[in-house]
Point group: C2
Chain length 441, copies 2
């Protein structure tokens, strides 16, 4: 029995397509999901899988040194190794947040630094899969000219970087005048065709769907409808367990916007459970910004979901009012005895600042997750002795403006409780000694 | 025989100090260097060292998963594991720059992405050693209150982050008004005491030396005079060889400013050679910005060195006219059959842009190294079949302004030959299709 995977319609598992087919929706218009031949995977015992994954971990044998491709059979088994476009994804530091944990009352706190990566965000985990499948399609003779997405952030950066490495043209659509060139500099630098349209973000989505909808267009759609990315993103949970020598943490906290990653986290953990690699599941916390909290509202209302209009938040990547993966995420959270928590702008900014002071370097989304943690600890839901992992989704270096504004006291509507501005002094040794004595005691 | 290391005076190897002593200069005022008990290290065979290093590589057993501490016996053998302050340094992607190599005529080109790290630069490799030694000193009862440096960039970021993680106070000195808060946001966020002095950079250096000079000050000096950092930085070359399954590349190209890292690269390679791990040495190229090129001038003048006044360059971290490690670097380069090359602002900016278009994300210093490579290939010194590694010293995310300016055609004195600005369009599918057809053919 061979390892294999395919797209299946959510509403009809018998409606199947190869992963290398250009198809985005099921016949009924629903999402497609990647399914694996679990019987084939069960031919190897849990111990054998662990041994295989350990043996490949961060090694030089192509492409298995990548944290994603080291688990190739679980991710995308049928792709040829020569078509894999990899930049050594995963294997990021599981940072022991000892000092922060002590401050907030958790003895065993860890931050998974997914932003410590080629493009600075955890989107690399999924994009390596999508771009590799595209390369396989091109190698198979499919007439693909380019890969496109509508995105203002991490997705476009990752798509453009992987496309550039592979020599596959990429196209990024975004609303004109609404995105600064600083936000766009990664796709611009990576040579994407960056199209600034005279419309809003939804208008961009409409245009990109129109442009890619015709099978003859030769332009493949890479946005979050595309379930290939979930297969890479799901390795984050597997990797966390591996980094604890196959021990399952009590809690995993992940920021949520479009919610594909909450689903992906659960999918990876469930696969480990189904294949006997772990014998219990962690509880999952999805953390949302208060200003973009449709899932939190549903959670508080017996999972009755209604889309909202998201308001502006510093956690820009999760500023989404009507998440694509809402149904899948609710299903994941109910299965994982999950919790949804929210964070105000004040809470997320202060939480990020506290993490930075103790050695992490948190993006605003990580701030949302940390703020949720602090609330759950305060009300006793997360216990002092629990092992907790917070997933940090991007490198703080991507959010210099946010940090500068915080420490200058210029973040709108936020009081900078942990600001640490520079102190100006004459170039005088005594003056310097005085300030040091005041500060250091 | 125990593994051990100590500070030795350059001019008198019998003048020795423990690594945990607060000492910066030899009696004659020269630099101190870390020496290892090589006889002790020779007790293990080359094959045994390789096996040990492989077995630890990126694993979970503290602190050996770090690329630096996985080689602890070679770096800082006598420190206690509980005092090591590590954020999983090293193990960064050795990026196969296949497309860039094809463009410029090298078949086997690799970029070592050292900026893919906790603080976004290769300074993490050295700072983990320095801060760990400080933690050991404090644990030994030494009255250290803080660690200080004068730096406007990567060094202060790394010092502040490692200090924050360890709970050791840090102090950063910088010239008031000459550094933007964006450049400073890492030490500010990590809670360093940031002192902006009313003087220039040399003035800051004088103050920091004065403040730290008295043994009772309790403030340890972390700048590039301190040779502890070299012990961590030297692992970069060892790691490159390990990532090639212990094969030595023909060339390693490194950008050079203060030149401690050129020396460190050579030190690590020589140690491998002396312990029989490799049987030949790579050639080393030190790449300088034309506007800060004292080493290049010396190279062109039979190694007769004279300090210069460095001019402003986009490669700000190597904008140094009188390098601290000039003598050690010249000695390294002569020993490694080295070459020094320089890059103009135009050359470094275009080289970085070409790397970005092909999947890397180069900082200006990496641009200098790539520009040097292009020149050496053009004049036939580096051959098409040579295996070449370029050391990328920082993540491109630290240099968004440089990249934005380049693609907007706003980089002073530079023609943006590879600019890729966004294209503005109406939200019209036909207009979009037209532009795509023009660009993609």
């Amino acid at each position: 029995m061979n390892y294999s995977a395919w797209f299946a319609a959510q509403d009809d598992p018998n409606e199947r397509y190869p992963l290398t087919e250009v198809v985005y929706y099921s016949k009924s218009g629903g999402l497609l999901e990647v399914q694996h031949n679990m019987d084939a995977l069960r031919q190897r015992s849990a111990a054998e899988w662990k041994q295989l994954f350990e043996g490949r971990w961060m090694r030089t044998s192509w492409p298995y040194g990548s944290g994603v491709w080291g688990k190739k059979e679980w991710v995308c088994p049928e792709i040829e190794d020569k078509n894999i476009v990899s930049m050594f994804e995963g294997g990021s530091n599981l940072f022991w947040a000892d000092r922060l944990g002590q401050e907030i009352g958790v003895d065993d706190l860890w931050i998974k630094m997914c932003g410590n990566s080629h493009t600075g965000s955890f989107k690399d985990l999924g994009m390596t899969v999508l771009v590799s499948v595209v390369k396989q399609m091109i190698s198979d003779g499919k007439p693909i000219r380019a890969v496109a997405c509508a995105s203002t952030g991490d997705t476009s950066a990752a798509l453009a970087a992987y496309g550039a490495a592979a020599g596959i043209p990429t196209i990024v659509f975004l609303p004109k005048g609404k995105v600064s060139i600083a936000q766009l500099v990664q796709p611009v630098a990576h040579g994407a065709l960056v199209l600034a349209l005279d419309t809003d973000f939804d208008g961009c989505m409409r245009v990109v769907r129109d442009v890619t909808s015709h099978p003859d267009s030769g332009i493949y759609l890479a946005n979050s409808l595309n379930s290939l990315r979930v297969e890479g993103q799901k390795t984050v949970g597997i990797e966390i367990v591996q980094q604890f020598d196959w021990d399952v943490p009590d809690w995993i906290i992940i920021p949520g916007g479009n919610l594909g990653n909450t689903f992906a986290l659960g999918k990876g953990m469930q696969m480990m459970y189904d294949l006997g690699m772990i014998n219990r599941l962690p509880r999952i916390v999805c953390a949302q910004a208060e200003r973009a909290n449709p899932l939190y509202r549903a959670y508080c209302n017996n999972w009755n979901y209604e889309p909202i209009a998201a308001q502006s938040t510093a956690a820009s990547a999760i500023q989404i009012g009507d998440p694509v993966s809402i149904r899948r995420a609710i299903s994941t959270l109910t299965h994982f005895n999950g919790v949804v928590e929210q964070a105000s702008e004040q809470e997320l900014a202060d939480a990020a600042a506290r993490a930075d002071r103790t050695g992490a370097y948190a993006c605003p989304h990580t701030g949302v997750a940390l703020a949720a943690l602090i609330k759950l600890v305060k009300r006793g839901e997360i216990k002092k002795s629990d092992r907790v992992v917070v997933i940090s989704t991007a490198h703080g270096l991507k959010f210099s403006r946010f940090k500068v504004d915080y420490h200058e006291g210029a973040l709108a509507g936020v009081q900078s409780n942990f600001a640490n501005p520079p102190i100006e002094l004459p170039a005088d040794v005594d003056a310097v000694r005085r300030v040091i004595a005041e500060r250091m005691g």
